[in-house]
Amino acid sequence: MKFNKIFHKTVLVVLVIYLLLPLAATLIFSIAGKWDHTLLPESITFKWYGELFSDERFYQALLRSLFLILVTVAISNIIMLPTIFIVAVYFRRFERILQAVAMLPYGIPPIVGAVGLIKVYSSGPLQISGTPWLLVGAYFVITMPYMYQGIRNSLQTINAQELVSAAELLGATKFQAFQKIVVPNILSGIFVSTLLSIALLFGEFVLANLLVGGRFETIQIYLYQKLNKSGHTASAIVITYYVIILLLTWIILELKKRPMQFQSVFGKRKQLILVGEKTEGFLKGEHK
């Protein structure tokens, strides 16, 4: 028993160190002055942040990223939410097909996907190659697995069909039932899906670089450019947008608390941690 407890704690500590170390290193590097032959920097300076925050390009890139993400997530919610609901409640037999479609993005390497998209949308009736709209479309696709899983899982925890039936017998239309009963009850799932998508898209580089590149500089492309010039500035960017994601997560979870009093606070904490880990994962991947 005792050994087990110690073992569990050790694993946990190692895991936390493993996850936090790159982040801590990035943070230190972003505030390091002279750092040649010592373990820790000899002096601390905020000049990298100063440079970053006085760079107009940084704000522009950040705004572009936010714009892309918000548009994508909005479209994704508007399309996926009713689709998943309708399939789960009224067309059970299509559920497997929807699941397969939603998982498809995992199977396609981003480079292959990007080249295909450029080819298809360079000619024909819809010539949006090189515009951010193509990127929105591609982002919609890559967030699909997250949206699908999160929403479907929370739909399964409520008896959606019966709730809709009950609402209908009480005089509601199907749409009213969806809007007033189903959506409020799966809000947590929608939030988690949305947050995961946001975190994923914030760190997305390959598609953005290939599809629009310098023509629509997102935060990741900006980071890439800076990486070649100064490691310190790049670190400052990473830390900054990590803080932004953290803030965003916190705000949304705080907002969520209000209409969902019936859910325990504990449930929300867990989700916060989950999102946090996910974000770190993306950051680490990006930082290599």
Binding site: A166, P259, M260, Q261
Partner: protein, 339 residues
């Protein structure tokens, strides 16, 4: 004139007929029960009355109006689901007010408050469904439906998830509310005892058809076939050759193939007792093979010429026989039902 009339309703899923030309009618204020095993079509019938299932043939009339093809929300039918289907994101007050809001009724606050008082839910207005007990949830589900003054109330096994004691209390409560509101009600259950205690009329369903209907006592004492006999009580249902082997008589042979005898009509007397003056009854010898206690009832499993027969007795000390005892069984001829 019947208030709710179901006429030749048929429903098929692919090749399978789930409801086969079902007809039944209820007068206003009647409490009818659809009784049957799971998969017999009783819930499907309930859902087609509510409009949640489209029927293939037949018609449903309520209060003289044909509602067969109406949307559920226009049917003026209330339903309490097995899971209650209370809206988890709404308080008790909002759950009860939901229907009135959807129908854009006036005076919502007062009406909901009155309903909350009637249903004994005072103090629970701001609670969420998961904070309520099973009984309170049931009352909210009922209140939510009743506040719209539906013409028919449908209850889909609302008590089946609860344990025996609470269940008995809620049965009484449900019945009380039904009487108070004088509402025409169809109740679905697979529990024959529940059906017996609550209903004015019982419809027994099997494989998509109504097998027998009638008042509870009639159904209990004169089942029309062996299915009903087995389902409704603990009838001893014997094949004719088994029966003949047991009684050693040919008397009923021409009347049918099966004989059903209720366990509580059979009398047990000691082998030494004088049985020579008894008329219109069969007397046979048997051994007590097994004794089991079912609360207030003692059930003896008797072995009579190799045939096993159940005999029920009220739990009282004067009749207590032990395993292996040899006894006379006295079976009234009039209580043997032949199919």
């Amino acid at each position: 004139m019947s208030y709710l009339m179901i006429d030749q309703v048929t429903k098929r899923y692919q090749q399978q007929t789930v409801l086969n030309k079902i007809s039944l009618s209820l007068r206003q204020g009647e409490f009818a029960t659809l009784l049957g095993q799971s998969g017999c079509g009783k819930s499907t019938l309930l859902r087609s009355i509510a409009g949640l299932v489209d029927i293939d043939e037949g018609a449903i009339h309520v209060d003289g109006k044909n509602i067969t093809n109406m949307e559920p929300r226009n049917r003026e039918i209330g339903m309490v689901f097995q899971s209650y289907a209370l809206f988890p994101n709404m308080t008790v007050f909002d759950n009860i007010a939901f229907g009135l809001k959807m129908k854009k009724k006036k005076n919502i606050k007062n009406r909901v408050q009155r309903m909350i008082e009637m249903m004994d839910l005072i103090g629970k207005e701001d609670s969420y469904p998961h904070q309520l007990s099973g009984g309170q949830q049931q009352r909210v589900a009922l209140a939510r439906s009743l506040i719209l003054e539906p013409k028919v109330l449908l209850l889909d096994e609302p008590l089946s998830a609860l344990d025996a004691k609470i269940r008995r209390n809620l049965q009484l409560e449900l019945k009380k509310i039904q009487r108070e509101f004088q509402i025409t009600t169809i109740f679905v259950t697979h529990d024959q005892e529940e059906a017996m205690t609550m209903s004015d009329t019982i419809y027994i369903m099997n494989e998509g058809s109504i097998v027998q209907s009638g008042i509870p006592s009639e159904i209990y004492t004169s089942p029309v076939n062996s299915f009903v006999a087995k389902f409704i009580g603990n009838y001893n249902v014997l094949q004719m050759d088994q029966f003949q082997k047991m009684i050693q008589t040919e008397e009923l042979a021409i009347e049918g193939q099966e004989v059903a005898i209720r366990p509580e009509v059979i009398d047990l007397v000691e082998i030494t007792a004088d049985v020579s003056n008894i008329e219109e009854k069969w007397i046979v010898q048997g051994t007590v093979q097994d004794v089991s206690m079912i609360g207030n009832v003692i059930r003896y499993e008797m072995n009579v010429n190799g045939i096993l027969v159940k005999v029920d007795y009220l739990h009282s000390h004067e009749h207590f026989f032990k395993q292996g005892e040899n006894l006379h069984l006295i079976i009234p001829k009039s209580e043997c039902i032949v199919f």
